[in-house]
C-alpha cells in the first residue's frame, strides 16, 4: 500500500515537473512569436496637420506641446499606429493664410486637420474643401460651426462669461458698479462671454454694469479704454475682462492701485502671473491650452482610426487662477511647454 502511494507520488511529481517545463516552453515560445510579429509589423502612419492662429500668440505653444506628446504616446501605445503632427501657422493672424495652408496640406496627403479659425467665413470654405476631398477636419479654440468639420473643442464662452461675473461678484460682495472690457466687437466668442456676464449679473440686483467697452485687441487700446472709463466712473468697484490684452505689458500697473479695484479676466499666461502675485488682478480664468492639442489629437484618432463615435462639441473647462494656486498653475504652464515661467512661482 505504502509502496503504491510512493509510486503515485513520484508520478505526480514527474507530471508536475513536465507541466512546469511545458509552461516554461510555452512562455519562451510566446516570446519568439512575439519577436517575429514585431519584425513583420507595418505601422500605419497618420499625419495630422494642426493649424494655429499665429506664431506670435503664445497660447499655442502649449497646444503644440500637447499635440506632439499625445502623438508620441499614441504611437508608443499602439503597435500598428504612428501619429505624426504637422504643425503649421501663419506668422501673424490671417484667415486667408490659414485657408491656403489647408488647401496645400490636402494636396500633400494629410489625413486630418485640426484648426483654430481666425475667421469663420473664410475658413468655412476651406474646411468644406478639405472634407469634400476626404480629409476630416476638427476645430479648436475658435469654431466654424457652419462648416463640415466633425467636432469642435473649446470653451463654452457663455458659461465662461457667467463664471467671470460670479467670481467678480464674490470679490465685491455682490454690490457696486462694474465695467466690461469686451475686445473686438466682431469676435463671436468674445460677444458670447459678454452675454454671459450680462446674464449672470441679473442674479445680483446690487451690481450695476456701467457698460461693455470694445476696442482693437492691443495693450495700448485696452489701457486707453480702461483709463477713460475709470475717469468717468471714479466709484467703479471692478472690471470683468473677456480677454487679457491689458496685461500684455506694464501699462496697467500705472493706472490701477493693487487691490483697490477688483479685476477678473480670461487667460492666465506666464506674463500675467505677476499681476496675480501683486494683487492687480484677483482671478484669471486659465484655459488648459495643452489640452487643445491633447484632446483634439485623441479625438481625431478616435474618429479616423478607431471609427468611434465622437461628440460634436467637446467642452474645455477653465481653471480659476488666484494667489492660492499660483504655484500649481505656474508648474502646470512649465509642464505644458512654456519656457518663460518665473522660477519664484514654481516653488510656491
Amino acid at each position: 500500500m505504502k509502496k503504491r502511494f510512493l509510486v503515485k507520488t513520484r508520478i505526480v511529481k514527474q507530471l508536475s515537473a513536465l507541466l512546469l517545463t511545458a509552461l516554461l516552453a510555452v512562455i519562451s515560445g510566446c516570446g519568439d512569436s512575439d519577436a517575429d510579429s514585431e519584425g513583420t509589423n507595418d505601422k500605419e502612419t497618420i499625419v495630422i496637420t494642426m493649424i494655429a492662429k499665429s506664431s506670435a500668440n503664445p497660447v499655442f505653444i502649449s497646444a503644440k506641446t500637447g499635440a506632439i506628446k499625445t502623438a508620441e504616446a499614441l504611437t508608443e501605445k499602439y503597435s500598428k499606429l504612428k501619429v505624426v503632427i504637422d504643425w503649421q501657422n501663419p506668422e501673424n493672424e490671417s484667415a486667408s493664410e490659414q485657408a491656403e495652408i489647408i488647401r496645400n496640406v490636402v494636396k500633400n496627403g494629410t489625413k486630418a486637420i485640426i484648426v483654430s479659425c481666425s475667421d469663420e467665413d473664410t475658413l468655412t470654405q476651406a474646411i468644406n474643401y478639405a472634407v469634400d476631398n476626404g480629409v476630416e477636419v476638427m476645430t479648436f479654440d475658435s469654431d466654424a460651426p457652419n462648416s463640415k468639420r466633425f467636432a469642435f473643442y473649446g470653451p463654452d464662452d457663455l458659461e465662461m462669461g457667467k463664471t467671470l461675473m460670479n467670481e467678480l461678484a464674490d470679490l465685491i460682495n455682490s454690490k457696486g458698479k462694474i465695467a466690461i472690457l469686451g475686445g473686438n466687437k466682431m469676435a463671436n466668442n468674445l460677444q458670447e462671454r459678454v452675454k454671459g456676464i450680462m446674464t449672470a449679473a441679473a442674479d445680483y440686483p446690487d451690481i450695476e454694469i456701467v457698460g461693455a467697452y470694445y476696442h482693437p485687441e492691443t495693450e495700448a487700446d485696452a489701457i486707453a479704454v480702461i483709463s477713460e472709463v475709470m475717469k468717468l466712473n471714479p466709484e467703479l468697484k471692478g472690471w470683468a475682462m473677456v480677454g487679457s490684452w491689458a496685461f500684455f505689458g506694464e501699462k496697467l500697473k500705472r493706472i490701477i492701485d493693487p487691490g483697490k479695484i477688483k479685476i477678473v479676466a480670461v487667460d492666465a499666461l506666464p506674463m500675467q502671473l505677476e499681476y496675480i502675485e501683486k494683487n492687480y488682478v484677483q482671478v484669471l480664468l486659465g484655459q488648459p491650452t495643452f489640452t487643445w492639442g491633447e484632446i483634439s489629437v485623441k479625438t481625431v484618432i478616435d474618429k479616423i482610426y478607431f471609427n468611434k463615435k465622437v461628440e460634436e462639441i467637446i467642452r474645455l473647462k477653465t481653471i480659476p487662477v488666484t494667489i492660492e494656486n499660483l504655484g500649481g498653475w505656474s508648474r502646470q504652464l512649465k509642464a505644458w511647454g512654456y519656457k518663460d515661467v518665473p522660477e519664484k512661482y514654481l516653488v510656491m
Binding site: K13, S16, L20, L23, S79, G328, R331, Q332
Partner: protein
Amino acid sequence: MSSKEIHKTAGSDKIPNRQKFAYGLGSIVNNLLGGAIGYMSIVLNVGLGINPALVGTLQAIPRLTDALTDPVMGYISDNTRSRYGRRRPYIFVGAIFVGLVFALMWQLPGGYSEMFYFWFFLIGSIIFYLFYTMFATPWVALGYELTSDYHERTRLMGVMNFMGQFAWITLPWFYAFMENDRFFSDSVQGARTLAIIIGVFVAVVGIMPAIFTRERFVAQDKGAKVKNKLLEGLKKNIALFFKGLLITLKRVEFLKLCSGTFFLFNGIMLVGAFSSYITIFYVCGGDKSMGAYYMGLFGTVTTISTLAAIAAVTWISSRIGKRKTFIIATAIMFFGSLLKWFCYDPMVPWKVIIPAPFIAVGMGALFTLMGSMIADVCDLDELETGERREGMFGSIYWWMVKLGMALAFGLSGFLLNGTGFVVDFGGAQTSSTFFWMRVVDVGIPAIGALIAIFSVASFKITEERSYEIRSELEKRRSKSISIEKIAPST
C-alpha cells in the same frame, strides 16, 4: 543563552531548500490571486462600460464573505485528519479549482447589459474567493508549522516573501498586456486570455507546496483519537468554531502582531494613491508622462530594495531577534516616510525616489517577521490550550490584512477629497491642497509606523521564551506518544 551567542538550527529542524522553494511558489500564486482581480478590474469599466461604483461593489462584497469563510476554512483545516495531512489536500484541490474558476470568470461574453456583467462577475467572484480561501488559508497555516525552530521560521518566511515579490512585479504589467493590440482586438479579449494564462499558472504552480512539502503534525495524528469529525454534529462544530475564534482573538501576543501589521501596512496602503498624485500634479506640474516615469522609477527602486531588505532582515533577525529587527526596520521606514516631505521638490523631481529604499525596508520586514512571529504564537497557544490552530491564526491575520486594504482603498478617495483636490484642475491645485496632500502622505504612514513599533515593542515571545515553550511542548508530545504506546486507542 548569552546575547552574543548565535543559535544554530538543528539539522532535523532545517527545512530542505526544495521545500522552502515549493512553499515560496505558493506565495507567488497567493499574491497573484490576491492582486489580479484588482489589476484586471479596470477592464470591467474601460472595456465593458460597467459603472465604477459597481466595480467597487464587486471588489468589496467578497471581503465581507471572506470574514466568514476564512476562519471557517482555518477551523476546517485545523481539524482535518487525513493521511495526506490537514493542509496539503486543500492546497492541492484549492489551487486547481481556483485556477479553473479564475480562468472562467473572465470569459465575459460581449453585447450584454451592465447588470448582466455585474451578476456574472459577482457570482464568479464569490466562487473564486471560496476556492482562493480553500487554497490560501491552509497554505498560510502550513508555513507556520513547517519547522519548530525560531530562526528557521524566519528563513522560510524570508524565502516566501522574497518569491512573493515576483507576483507584485508582474501585476502592474497586466493592463499593458491586456491592452496590447499586437495580441488582442480589445482589452476584454486581453483579459480573457490573461485569465487563462493565470489560471493555468495557478493550477500548475499552486499544487507544488502540496506535493513537495511535508507536514510536521501528520505523523503525530496517526492512530490518535479523532477529535472532531466534521460531520459529527453541526452544532458541536459551530460551538467549537466560535470557541476557537474567541480564544484566538483573546491571544494578546497575536493581537499585538495584528495591530502592528494593520497600522503599518494600511498606513502605506491608505496613502498609496497620494504619492502618485503628488508626484504627477505637484512635483511634475501635471505632466502625466513625466510623473509616470518617476513613479515607475520609484516602483523599480522599491522592488529592488524590498528584495534586498528581505534578505537583510532575515539575516539580522537571526542575530538580534525578531522583535528588535522589526522595530529597527520599522524605524527606518518611519524615517523614510518623513524624508518624503523634503524630497517632493518640483525643481528637482528625481528626489522623489530617495525615500523608496527606506520605506521598502519596513515593508520587506513586515511580512517576513510577522509570519515567523505568528508561528511562535501558535506554539504558545498550543502550550496553553493543547491545540494547534495555525489555520485559525493565519486566517484571522490575513483577513484583517485584506479588510484593512479594502478599507484603505475606500477611505483614500474621501481623504483626497478632504484635502480639497479637484481633478479638473490638474496641476493647478491650491497651495493648501498640496500642503494637506503632503501632510497626509507623510503623516499617516509615519504615525502607522510609530503605532506598529509601540504594539510590537511589548511582544513577549523572545528567542529565549520561544526555546522554553518548544522544550515544554516536546516534553508533552513525547509523554503523550509514550502513553499512547502503553494504551493504544480503541
